[in-house]
């Protein structure tokens, strides 16, 4: 897998397939990116399980916060990592040793660990690094264009609407 660039169909396939997300490093601080992404993914219908030892037992946006991956209700479809690259490598190692494998491991903007990615992929896990699922969802739904951002997609098809105003779903093809 080339981790310098990802096809839109690869990313869309992941965002379509995933229903549950364990978010490591979720923040209760409402101006932190890890709070923004949690809130956005919840609004798009994902079940998100915040993980933050300092907030364990409390709620963020109505979701119970867990101390670690061992405590979440089930094996998540995706683990989303808001930690630095070195910590991300350790997290991947722990996940592989635990045997409870997610379908996807996603590392946030600036987070990248190629060795860990290789090991995860060898275990059949899809990996995305140095990307943000909120930005990718915004790109592939067209919502990000409302902020003047270059989505790098063009389409003559109807955008997908969700309930309420200004609320879109994913459009375009996905890799199965």
């Amino acid at each position: 897998m080339n981790h310098d660039s990802y096809s839109d169909t690869y990313i869309k396939g992941i965002l379509d397939e995933v229903k549950t997300v364990a978010m490591i490093g979720a923040s209760a601080n409402t101006v932190r990116p890890s709070y923004f992404v949690l809130k956005y993914l919840l609004s798009k219908g994902y079940d998100v399980w915040p993980i933050n030892p300092g907030q364990a037992g409390k709620d963020i946006l109505g979701q119970t916060v867990y101390a670690s991956l061992d405590d979440v209700p089930d094996v998540p479809d995706m683990i989303d990592i808001f930690r630095n690259s070195e910590a991300a490598g350790q997290i991947v190692e722990q996940v592989l040793q635990s045997g409870k494998l997610p379908k996807v491991i996603w590392m946030q903007l600036t987070v990248r660990h190629d060795e860990a990615a290789k090991r995860a992929e060898a275990a059949g896990i899809k990996v995305v690094m140095d990307r943000c699922p909120k930005i990718e969802y915004g790109r592939l739904s067209g919502e990000i264009g409302w902020a003047g951002v270059n989505s790098k997609t063009i389409s003559a098809r109807r955008p997908t609407l969700k309930s309420g105003f200004q609320h879109r779903g994913l459009t375009g093809k996905s890799e199965s």
Binding site: S7, T30, Y35, F36, I154, A156
Partner: protein
Amino acid sequence: MSENIPGFSTLAIHAGAAPDPSTGARATPIYQTTSFVFDDVDHAASLFGLQAFGNIYTRITNPTTAVLEERVAALEGGTAALATASGHSAQLLCFHTLMQPGDNIVAANKLYGGSINQLNHSFKSFGWSVKWADPDDLNTFEAAIDENTKAIFIESLANPGGIVMDIEAISALAKAKGIPLVVDNTMATPYLCRPIEHGADIVLHSLTKFMGGHGNSMGGIIVDGGSFDWSAGGRYPLLSEPRPEYQGIVLHETFGNFAFAIACRVLGLRDLGPAISPFNSFMILTGIETLPLRMQRHSDNAKKVALHLSGHSKVNWVSYAALPEDKHHALQQKYMPKGAGAVFTFGVEGGYDAGVALVSKCELFSHLANIGDTRSLIIHPASTTHRQLTDDQKTAAGAGPDVVRISVGLEEVDDIIADLDQALSD
């Protein structure tokens, strides 16, 4: 990245514009509304807190204008863009985001006269100063940069003299000093030149000119190249420091490689207010769909007119970079090989009076102060835009008594040449 990266002409028509999901309208609708209804209080809070994508109020974002912004960002190869009421307000918001009182801009001394005024005079009230450098001597840029310099500002193709900037060399200077290179690309448009590919960090436009292209709507835009590290050195606090305007958000950390465009929007446009009308966004978008065709024809016509005038007995000199003997021809071949644009200057035999006579005798050319219309335009700067200057100042500004500027339109080139010939005749 997409499997197939669309070509320029495809992006000029499609980038940013999907069919309207409610009505099926294929052209981009004109969302002529001031405001947008919230689903509920939580949705409103998400929008005000920048946590969700979406529109609140047309001073900040508008769906018609958003298509224009994404379109131009795609054409320039940038990460995001912010449209404004005019090219001048794009400059204001760009520098407002970069500068603090006491800071300075190092700018090429060959700029549109209106920009020279803005930098020299209006910006003084903000405590910003300008230090001028000579694009024909790059050492003057390096010498002018000091610890308070926050940007270098140039035009890719300078108005009106047809001067082509060595963007890569100036970008290397900017990178060595850790400051962004801001390039106005109005005269060239991304069809002829894409400054971000040559190292520009921010691109500005007056969309009023060739992008809209029909002389009917004012607009400007800021394109974020996505390449500059705003957090290194902490010299750009609007991007790298917690912002009290948004409860302590750090814009660079939150918005990554499109943080500059977001900062210009949520700290600049929101508070200073020069929003473009959605109607103007629609008009300019419609113009951009034919940009590749128009810009090629403008350049081809202009080159034919320039060649004709260089052999004319009443014309002493022609300054147009597409002419092989021109001083900037090598740079034109490097940075804008498809053409040198529509605008150039020439010197008429007989000086001031001959210049006045020429503009008054034209029948097809319109005598006015604009460029980048479908129509051919002409102006004699010494008797109009530069008349308040002394003769020495006029000459230094490239507006000596014999100088005439034309913006060659899209009419039949034989008709354009015939009009100049009859107007130059005794």
